[in-house]
């Protein structure tokens, strides 16, 4: 199982690299699709069907919207000037990489092993969730009963995003 996971991860990283590097925007979007659908397979292998359903549906919608936008506008990446920015971004990347590795070396000692999560709060949910909430799907009982405040926040985020889109793209401001 871990072999399949590692292969999927390598495929997803390759897809992400191709998406950044390719000059053709359509192939960049399709490589982004590799990352998303690979993530769906990872969720399925790790036995999280709730996340897999949401991921596959949202990924499909995103690809449709992005491809529609690409087909209407342009297929080519705009050429940016290469100058001193490359040096500065290189220095910043090296510094960030050093900090990242430094933190990583410290963090890895405290992480639990793969497949043996450190459950304290979750054990209560798994044992008492069905009794306390009456919902057979534990994920639903967590996101809509124990952590319903989070879900209200998420719904508000989506609501605010739609309000922002309508405010930016409204018709009245364009016609002078």
């Amino acid at each position: 199982m871990i072999v399949i996971l590692v292969l999927l991860m390598i495929l997803m990283i390759a897809g992400a690299v191709v998406a950044i590097q390719s000059k053709d925007l359509l192939s960049a979007i399709i490589s982004m699709g590799i990352v998303g659908f690979g993530l769906t397979l990872v969720f399925l292998i790790l036995q999280a069907p709730d996340l897999a359903i949401v991921q596959i549906v949202v990924e499909t919608l995103t690809l449709i919207i992005l491809i529609a936008a690409i087909l209407k506008t342009t297929m080519k990446e705009s050429k940016a000037k290469k100058s001193a920015v490359v040096i500065y971004s290189g220095i910043a990347t090296v510094i960030l990489l050093i900090i990242f590795l430094f933190v990583l070396a410290d963090t890895f000692r405290w992480l639990p092993d793969f497949g043996c999560p450190d459950l304290r709060m979750s054990e209560y949910y798994i044992e008492e969730g069905l009794k306390v909430t009456g919902a057979a799907n534990l994920v639903a009982s967590v996101i809509l009963d124990f952590r319903a405040y989070d879900t209200l926040g998420e719904a508000t985020v989506l609501f605010t995003a739609v309000m922002g889109i309508w405010a930016v793209l409204r018709g009245e401001g364009r016609k002078k």
Binding site: I65, A136, V139, L158
Partner: protein
């Protein structure tokens, strides 16, 4: 926005109903099987977006759809909030599960969780439809 060919239109007309009812199934059984309000809402909006993209749309007709989508979106999040407030008033805290739990694994069980699923589904599906309509309308505006 112009529609696609006759083949695509016919197939999408046949499929849209199936996708819509699959989304409703995911929402209603969200407390029993994997899925829930968010996933089901996205699937429901997918049925509408399929019809919009395949059949094309009139600019005059779509303003009515836009207003309905905005109303439904606000209604969904308002009802979700009302459930939370009712929990605060009848029980002790925000989002208190004030309905009876019922027998586990039944359709009508788990108190407020199915109702919250329905509210989230209304909000999410209307929001995604409204985003797509916004992008279609802005293309219309630029052509003038």
């Amino acid at each position: 926005m112009k529609g696609m060919t006759e083949i695509v239109r016919t197939i999408s007309r046949l499929l849209a109903g199936l996708i819509f009812f699959y989304g409703i199934y995911i929402v209603l059984f969200g407390h029993l099987t994997p899925g829930g309000g968010f996933a089901g809402g996205v699937i429901i909006s997918g049925a509408f977006i399929l019809l919009i993209i395949a059949n094309g749309i009139d600019e005059k007709k779509i303003t009515g759809v836009k207003e309905k989508a905005g109303f439904l979106e606000s209604l969904g999040i308002f009802l979700f909030w009302v459930i939370a407030i009712i929990g605060l008033c009848t029980g002790t805290f925000f989002f208190f599960n004030f309905l009876g739990k019922g027998r586990a694994l039944n359709m009508f069980s788990a108190g407020t969780i199915p109702i919250c699923n329905i509210c989230v589904a209304i909000e999410v599906s209307a929001a995604l439809c409204s985003i797509v309509i916004a992008f279609i309308l802005v293309k219309k505006g630029e052509k003038k």
